[in-house]
Amino acid sequence: MTTTVPRNEPQRIHPHKFLMWAAIGGIVMMFAGLTSAYIVKKNQSSWLQFDLPIEFYYSTGVIVLSSITMYLSAIALKAAKMSQYKAMISITAFLGISFLLFQYLGFKDLQAKNIALVGPRSNSAASFLFVITFLHMMHVLGGVIALIIFWFKAIRKNSTITSLISVEVLGTYWHFVGILWIYLFLFYNWIG
């Protein structure tokens, strides 16, 4: 399918790639809305100040690493090195799961410091951190599920017909959720 070339047409971006970029635009708006609400709320009364849990620093490192392995998996597929592709895509999925785990441990850490994330005792500062981070985790989880599906496809068919386009689309998404987390991480540290 990747061989379909438009006839007599200027080369246009693949519609599925474009769809991903447009979807990213939508997701950006969602987090822009939430972080704006965060700023508005922060400037009102009773805002709790606390430090980010150390686990969030680890998870930032993990997600940067996973972006690199994602990039390498696309390169491997382009070169038709299937074993390397399978290895890289499974490492990326593993790093994605570790990221989610670190975020979870970060929440645990906050609760251990007696900072309620939800419930009647919670402060909006912690609730915002929780809701925004949780939503980002849901987006990462979507990427992890896609990675696992791609990995299954790769071992089942054991051939090179895995579409490069769809791996590139997934790669775009994966790099995006990584950058989104780095933005949120800087946002929490800088604004919060």
């Binding site: 769809l19 708006m29 609400a37 009773s46 939800v118």
Partner: protein
Amino acid sequence: MSNEAVLHTHSGAHDDHEDHSHEHHEQSFISKYVFSQDHKMIAKQFLITGMVWAVLGGLMSVLFRLQLGYPDANFPWLETILGKWAKGGHITPEAYYALVTTHGTVLVFFVLTAGLSGTFANFLIPLQIGARDMASPFMNMLSYWFFFAASIVMLSSIFVETGPFSGGWTAYPPLSALGDASPGSKSGMDLWIVSMALFVVSSLLGGLNYIATILNMRTKGMSMTRLPLTIWALFFTAVLGVLSFPVLLSGFILLIFDRNFGTSFYLSDIFINGVGALPNEGGSAILFQHLFWFLGHPEVYIILLPAMGMVSEILSVNSRKPIFGYMAMIGSLFAIAILAFLVWAHHMFVTGLNPLLGSVFVLLTLLIAVPSAIKVFNWLTTLWRGNIRFTPGMLFAIGFVSLFISGGLTGIWLGNSALDIHLHDTYFVVAHFHIVMGVASMFGMFAGIYHWFPKMYGRFMNNTLAYIHFWVTIAGAYLIFWPMHYQGLAGMPRRYYDFSIWESFKQFQDLNRFISLVAMIVFAVQFCFLFNFFYSIFKGRKVLTQNPWDANTLEWTAPINPGHGNWPGEIPEVYRWAYDYGKDGVDFIPQTTPVGADESVEH
């Protein structure tokens, strides 16, 4: 990327892209009518679901108008159909608020968003840009089924014991955030929010597809400035939706946490009778309003722009003249799309908004008058000295222009923060947005249905019924909403259950009765349309020529009943814009006609 590849993404490798005929696919009933991936079938699914909702939403307005028009009368039949919600034949206050809320939600989102842009974006985009189908037909199918699921959940909320949500379609907290706040805030609100979340997903899936299709899948020769204005309008509609619905969703997510997980994003210092003081502290209900109206205002244009686009096309075709100021039309659509994101706080002038900030929003709001006026002038100058064919579609298109002018002018009043102190939450606002957004967009939708019905079903609708439908509806629309301006100027507030106990508003009792009476007549006349629509699908006069309106756009070059893939053989190539009507003395020149050697240069 070729169109064929999109249609066949699930069918494995294939070599020949030439001469694909798509009409020999054997399809089961399920894959043709239910889980169809054909954009034309999905469009019809959106349309008919939207029509079911329009009847339900309209019926709700008749019921609450009954209360407003006849507050002292008892209607035993109401108890028969509504049960405890109309004890003794008299609609209860809870039922009244639930009806108003559901009427608003259903009409704004389910009818005029999904029913309007869902129908016509799906139907017209591939046909008018020369594509076999959408960029992702599967996502397109999902978009409809998410909408269907949202519909089922919303419908089920009407039947729960505590009733559907009743805090207004804007779902402001604390009524929406606290189950104890009112009967409608209990499980009705849970279902409302689930339904709306599904609806947002549906809109996003659809909108992303529309944008990708328009930008990437146009046929050879179809440059952006050769697109019909319908496509431009649907494009900006989709962009608005993709950028604003996620913000609404983020507002809803915070609301869900406040409702179910005890957070305090929107709640602070609340005491509920019978429950006591709540522990929530530090939240701000105004925050929800910001998030809501950041969607809510673009939503108005999501509703209106498709109607504007279709009206531009229909006016040009039926005036036998090119659209006046094609580039100005695109420019004004663009300006409206940008301004749509910069005016949301004009819904919040009386929330204690900083007056200086308010004045900025006044300025930006009044700026919308500029592109709107450009559009109106261009529509009128398109009509000017045209050889007008008064088809039903054309009448509704002209009706749209009339309503857009009348409703738009009162927008200039309401956009002033000083006037808004007096007019906020009165019937003046009700009159304004019903005319400019509600009825006008319904007219755009009717225009589109009458105009493209021959393409949808290969048959014509009945003209006599259509003319009755048009004249009663346009007269009724003005008779219903014009008097509301006077009521609003006199200070009559919206959403009140019974005005007869207010000394200041008693005088409007007869006027209210008149409005209710007209509303019932207009509602009844819509059955002319519904009968006409469904009867004509099966028994209407058959379309015998490919191009019954002598129009230029590509959909009329497809077979009378196009199969999945739209064109047998090659997709036609485009050589000119869509509006060569009356050029060089030729009545119309379709977009597929190559430019002749001795043709004049200017459009």
